[in-house]
Symmetry: C2
Subunit: 607 residues, 2 copies
């Protein structure tokens, strides 16, 4: 039960302890780096640079992009082990690659991404993004932390330590989002302190409860203090003026939620690092791209926040953002800075982000800076095209078996009619906010049932972490299903099972199939499974290749459409209906939630 | 004798220990900051920003310079205790100051200065520079460390901790400069590790032995490793190409010695922070100022390196550099960035360098950005014009009594003629290098004596730290003295007593007077003291007001001139004649040194 206790660190003394833990991690982190690389390594790097010793690899004939002087230089790059020894001429090496006039760019960095949104494992994510030039990602494993707590975060820190991609982690700061639901775990300030002791954890992840920070909430302040001098990411859509000052003054120093120029400029002026977000859902590049060429551009970086598998496959990752930015007229050298030296500086990763002596040999080869089609990526001096990829599911064992439901069958979905007029969640197409309306639902034998003709479908959230048997029930309009049901174990932020349907039997079948799969997404009609995607890893991620995941996601969407669904991304819409921090009416396993008052509210207004 | 042992830290294991010590300091440093400021303080800052609590001070009616967006904003700045709570409007405070349309600029930072060159105490230095807008200086106490070791460095760390100016220290990395002289102390890698454990020590000071670093010298590499992830300053005049790559790859990441644009650009491209130096002697602003407006400008900062008391009094400090830069056509907003956010970023001082919530209320008021005449400085929210200045000599007690000479009188200066043709140091006016020539000195009774007619004066270096009785003797041309002698206990880098003269009796009298003063500079003729400046603090600094020091320096120069001296800054020329790392012929207490071979060389070629 400990994980469900509310945070104990209410005194400055306790907070001081977490600060200590945070600082302790600097030792561990620093020592690991220094032991691994070693004084001797630095000596050897200098020896290679001074031609006293051959390099391991020399890339000749390239045009080297220098992010410090915003210029391009014809030079060779000498690499020794995992680092760049020199940028110059005449280097001898065990191996030489002639780039034939192509450009050499520093490895790309995504400064903020919830990797779980890709629906694939960290290794599979690496297989997708490394060939596209991304060599470092800073993830906020907020989703898996809600399911598995510290164990879930560990999946990413371990992947970062041993996997092919440099994954760093920001300690998720808002787990769970509210007390109005059962999540798989709670991360206390103490847990965050423990996370900060890991050398793969750079700081504290987005402080989503920005009203709480502005209000000087003691627990939130203790979390910020635990970061010590390390970065604390923000999340403050629309926050401006005095409130913004309070948020920044409290210690939060970045934001990725700005969507208009004036807001973005104000956040920069108040000292925030501005993450320009261009992901699968939220897209701010078009609006904010002019900032990049501004003097303020040095405090801007590209981030994706969320990126779906199909988009990673067909569009790309940070390379895609650079292409979009240059197509909007941005100087490619500037676009590259926002993907390299700027995020490196923002996160104090002084060992990367530029092609310079002593830095990691994370490099990208492109023929045209404007087009930015990555032809080869070097990660720590080795071409990723020659990498032998580790097992896609490596390290995910501990994240399986996360679906723990006490399921009583279709009766769990029975909803007694406690009144006549009920509150209905109104889906707003393409948005994650909902509206609220009132309607008299269809009632049969004293029970509320779906009413397909009026698009008044039934919605249920089935608690799936602790076998509590809790089921929240409500009504939703906007899906437009004419038959069947669809269900998902991806349901922000607690990721209980959410199911919507025209028939209680199909809804029950959908829930049962998700239990059977150990997590996933399904579309069911007349008791038959029309499409499904297994997400056995924390109920959030697949162990299949991205191509297969992408295909199954398409099938799910096609199946939903075949049942009459009107929404373009029905599973995304579904996944946000359980998030009680986004207005206006939401459903958790505990019941209907009024977001404004952050409290439960009865389904019937005339109860 | 321990301090004279050579560095023991030759194994990676030992180096690891120093790394540990370095990292330990992160705890101490961080904890001090966090304890002092506290979680509650952050809560209160947010409360002030959100208008829940009055500010201590509000500066209204000002035009706030924003170094992030390179713009000026009409806004009020709300200050709570030592920090900025908000930039906005409508703040209530216990005290309000109307700036009447004047500009508010972040406090200025000098990123690299040897404070000893000002000849005054840290407190007196603070009195000079704070009203000129400097609120933070990063000192490399290389001079006092050569005299007093860790105790000497402590004088600056303590001044930084308790004094009116924010003084940070870079641990001097090259003490002593060579083994060819007796210095007052040696700083081993272990000592540097200990220094790094002090929260006032930011990193490792300039690695002057750049050939040693390029050559992968193990002791130097251990010193760099001791810094861990913290800054290591460089010093590499003219270093370019492969050698520069080796120096940077070894871990050195700044330079203040670049004097031409191509060299500066190359250093920037290799990832170095470029310190543009404009001090009392070395001046590179005119040559390098165009870099500031370049994209590379974000990696540039102004530094003074050395600043004499008269220049501080009459010209200024960083304010003077900003004036010079704008007079050369640089946008004042850019000139300000190189004095504020850039050095703050360079040294990881994220709590300053900008006017933004949560940062220190170090602020400067000017009426005109181009003119940049500082009208008021706020340090941590308090106007420095209202500061009650601490005792000028506070904390300097331990640095007195540093002159320990075993002095046998004028016979110490007797130089037997061991041959006919002697090597002569040739002073090059305005430079610190010397030439070498051969001459047949005047010999009387088998002893070499000064020969005023041929300007072949006698030069002596008297060991003054350990009463060893060692005296080095040589011949110098270029001073042009016709009578008397001049002596100084400021003699780079070991700061033994150096004396030049036309008469052995006057030379002896000058040395005796310096012993009497406990350190200083004197001009003597016919046994009479014509001018003098006592430097009782480590033999390097006065405890007098800067105005008085400046006056006495002028008198010394006038007195030297009255004796026929041809050099404009004779004491500066004198002070570099004992520095055996600057070509070509130098004199230490051990004798004549050939700088090229870094070894002793006989005075007579025909011995």
């Amino acid at each position: 039960m400990r994980r469900f206790d509310s945070c104990q660190a209410r005194s400055p003394l306790m907070a001081g302890f977490f600060v200590y833990i945070g600082l302790l991690s600097e030792i561990v982190g620093g020592a690991v780096l220094i032991n691994r690389e070693g004084i001797r390594y630095r000596q050897e790097l200098a020896a290679v640079a001074a031609h006293r010793r051959p390099a391991d690899l020399v890339l000749t004939g390239g045009r080297v992009v220098d992010v410090f002087t915003r210029s391009v230089e014809e030079a060779a790059v000498a690499i020794y082990r995992s680092r760049i020894a020199a940028v110059g001429r005449g280097y001898e090496a065990n191996r030489t690659v002639d780039l034939g006039g192509r450009f050499l760019v520093p490895g790309l960095i995504d400064g903020h991404v919830h990797l779980e949104s890709s629906l694939v494992t960290p290794t599979e994510f690496a297989r997708l993004v490394l060939p596209r030039g991304t060599t470092t990602v800073i993830v906020d494993p907020h989703e898996i932390a809600n399911v598995l707590g510290l164990e879930g975060v560990k999946l990413f820190t371990e992947a970062g330590r041993t996997g092919p991609l440099d994954i760093f982690v920001m300690a998720p700061s808002s787990v769970p989002a509210t007390a109005l639901e059962i999540s798989g775990a709670r991360l206390t300030c103490g847990d965050i302190g423990l996370l900060l002791a890991d050398d793969r954890v750079l700081g504290v992840g987005e402080m989503m409860n920005y009203p709480g920070v502005v209000a000087s909430d003691e627990e939130l302040m203790a979390i910020i203090a635990a970061a010590g001098s390390r970065p604390v990411d923000g999340h403050a859509p629309g926050l401006r003026g005095d409130q913004l000052c309070a948020y920044v003054g409290a210690g939060v120093r970045s934001d990725h939620e700005a969507t208009d120029l004036a807001e973005a400029r104000e956040k920069l002026a108040r000292g925030m690092w501005l993450m320009i977000r261009e992901g699968s859902t939220a897209k701010s590049l078009d609006e904010l791209v002019t900032l990049a060429a501004d003097p303020a551009g040095r405090r801007c970086l590209w981030v994706t926040d969320d990126r779906h598998p199909a988009d990673l496959l067909h569009e790309g990752h940070i390379d895609h953002i650079i292409r979009r930015a240059t197509s909007r007229g941005l100087d490619p050298l500037v676009a590259i800075e926002l993907a390299t030296i700027n995020p490196a500086t923002c996160f104090g990763l002084d060992d990367r982000g530029a092609i310079a002596p002593g830095r990691l040999a994370d490099l990208v080869v492109v023929s045209d800076l404007q087009e930015f089609r990555v032809e080869e990526t070097y990660r720590r001096g080795r071409p990723v095209s020659q990498l032998s990829w580790p097992d896609r599911a490596a390290g995910t064992g501990g994240a399986r078996g996360s679906i723990n439901v006490r399921w009583a069958g279709v009766t769990s979905l029975h909803l007694p009619a406690a009144g006549r007029l009920a509150r209905v969640m109104e889906v707003v197409p393409g948005q994650i906010v909902t509206g609220m309306s009132l309607a008299a639902p269809k009632i049969i034998h004293g029970r509320v049932v779906p009413d397909t003709d009026r698009d008044l479908l039934k919605l249920a959230v089935v608690e799936r972490h602790r076998s509590s048997g809790r089921v929240g029930l409500g009504l939703v309009r906007g899906f437009g299903l004419r038959h069947g049901a669809m269900a998902s174990s991806v349901a922000h932020d607690s990721h209980n099972i959410i199911v919507v349907g025209c028939s209680e039997e199909d809804m029950a079948a959908a829930v049962e199939q998700i239990i059977e799969l150990g997590g996933g997404q399904v579309v069911v009609a007349n008791g038959r499974i029309l499409a499904q995607l297994a997400l056995p890893i924390a109920g959030l991620m697949s162990d299949l290749p991205a191509e297969e995941v992408s295909r199954q996601v398409e099938e799910l969407e096609r199946a939903a459409k075949s049942l009459g669904c009107l929404l373009p991304k029905p599973f995304m819409a579904l996944s946000f209906l359980a998030l009680p921090v986004i207005p206006r009416l939401k459903l958790t396993d505990g019941g209907l939630v009024d977001v404004e008052s952050l409290s439960y509210i009865p389904l019937f207004v005339d109860t």
